[in-house]
Amino acid sequence: MIPNPTIALLIFSILVLLIYLGIKTRVWNRRTKAQRLKAQVEDVLKQLYHVQHSNKKATLNAMAGALKMSDSKLVYLLEHMAGLNLIRLKGQHIYLTESGTDYALKIIRVHRLWEKYLSEETGIDKSEWHQRAEMMEHNLTADQADELYRSLGSPRFDPHGDPIPMKSGEIIESSATPLSGIHPGKYVRITHIEDEPEVIYKQIINEKLHIDQQLKVLSCDDNKTRFLSEGIEYELSTIVASNISVKELNDEESFEAQAVRLSTLKEGEKAKVVGISKECRGANRRRLLDLGFIKGTTIETGLDGPMEEPKAYRIKNTLIALRNDQADLILIEKIAS
């Protein structure tokens, strides 16, 4: 009557293993052969566009390396694409045709719109935006992209600071320079953080650097770039710093040298809110604005709490508890009491 426990456990483990493998390999969500080909063609187009955009010439070897594809596979794809009149092959170099450029811009548009969507409307962590957009760019039609564009309030830039191409293919040239090439003593603002390669992007995220952050470059040589921002001194290797693009502050902007993060406010100190970092987006940002975290409001510490976080702050006669990662995104200027 009672089943053999050993056999029962064995069958159970096999079932668990099968379910795990099924989820891991997404058996029910496989792309068809035609879909895979389309995705590969689109990846090649995008890579070609980026190479041409940075005024370089695309060669077969460099492309195969960048796309992590075998030469023979790439040759096959390029022949297929030349047949579709998306590219021209001239000697050693590969060029996009006009229709190829349009196609590439369409893919880039979807990619950046999707990243914008993920940043504004979902809680997906920013380290995952790029990978998810890489999947999505092959799936959305132009009409769906337009609908997304409208529902997001016609954004012009993605969350990394890259311009989103218009439906017509219109796009601006970015005039930013890499952080690694800025002279010491200059005041700059981060306009773009490159999300590829991922290793470096993750490193930048871990440093809690973000778009629109103002910095003062302290020193800059072949190996290291040092700068001051939000009351913290940073030191980045040149490789990492060259993936951050910056612009010098214009006349209307002034360097908020006194600005520090709310998380540095100590018991008994008073401060004025300078602003909420751009990194705080969507619902989170609206919520903080609703609670009164507006430029000029005075704020002081309230309660420390029994654990490391949250901490409560007194603002507009109310105690508001914030977690540390939120307090990192609110900039304040301390008032001498």
Partner: protein, 475 residues
Amino acid sequence: MSDQNNQIDDIISFASSLRWKVGDDFHDKLTEAIYSDAAVITSRVETKGDDEKSYHFDRLLDRILTSRRFGFLIMALILSVILWLTIQGANYPSSMLNTLLLELIYPTLKSVSASIGLPWWLDGFLFDGVYMAVAWVIAVMLPPMAIFFPLFTLLEDFGYLPRVAFNLDGLFKKSGAHGKQALTMSMGWGCNAAGVVATRIIDSPRERLIAIITNNFSLCNGRWPTQILIATIFIGALVPSGLSGTISTLAVIAIAFLGIVFMFLTSWLLSRTMLKGEVSTFTLELPPYRPPRFWKTIYTSLIDRTIIVLWRAIIFAAPAGAVIWLISNIDIGSTSVASHAIEFLDPFGILIGLNGVILLAYVVAIPANEIVIPTVLMLTVAHFNITGFGAGDGVMFELDSVSETENILKTGGWTLLTGINLMLFSLLHNPCSTTIFTIYKETKSWKWTSVATILPVVFGVVVCFLIAQCWRLLF
């Protein structure tokens, strides 16, 4: 005309080129400017009262209630007192209601129906089925809720509960949840449906869904009696009689703690997988303390929480009573539907260390956890033809004597393993239909309702299965 059109095109393309330059955040800047202007205007006309004294009192109280040393201690103390008041205090009104509904009104109804000559099936269906289930649910459910919820609401009104959320948020953050989930979880110890409604206080979509889905892991008031009874019969019996009370109490507390463990585990799992894409915003306002408005609080908590939940429970209990009576009284061949179902479920039940009776009881008693044990007893007596107990097929009953209950269950083939697994399954199974319906009302999503319903059963079956196999390998 074409000249004008050209001009318009020029303006549009000029505007478009400007939009690239104005940057992405001009909406934000505009909003922030409006907010700041509004703040300046209000500060000019705003007059403030002098609240120095109450402000300092608040600060002092806050420092004690959220201090590293006393914060958690005070919290545990208050919660224990509330639970103790609820469990102890509910005994008297519960037994009074029980006497009134089951020992006075029920026989009266039966004799009235006999005197006007109702056919036996209508009499059985209405009084043994529908009335019995409803009366049972009211008697067991109403008193604890009528004590627990007003006490809870008083604390809320005083301003203490946000401080609890504040104290515990660091802990809950680690599992991807909101500190306020501590409150909805405690509310779930009273009633899961009320706990689900209470998640409205969590304004972040992701954390609210987590709180809703995991609320079922709070052992609700309909399940405490089951736990206590089974622990007394099977676990208390393992130790000398002097210790049995303490040991069985500890066993029940252990199960409640296991529920908390599962709550954290599931929260962690959900926030990293299924709910990763939901928006998450944390804010917690700590309002000033104020003397609770006693009568208003009692009134609103009775109306808002107790009565509404009770009403839903009754609506769901009535058909369940009917079903329980019907499956026991309709025969296919020579045996009742219930017996067929028990025989069908038995192999799987035995596999996971339970039995067919328990599984059938959990299926038909979906409307209310309160009627699981009465249903189990009735089904066992009917299925194993035990004579001398109960009031006939399809009539739920409970026994005052624990040892008689034990005899019935052991005749039904129960062992220590069955007892332990029933305690686990009672913690880890689908929410009652009242709660499922409430989850749907709160989330408006079939997807999340099904997740909240199915996930705990899967946990329950897997845990019971593993325990049963290990048990059989070891003993």
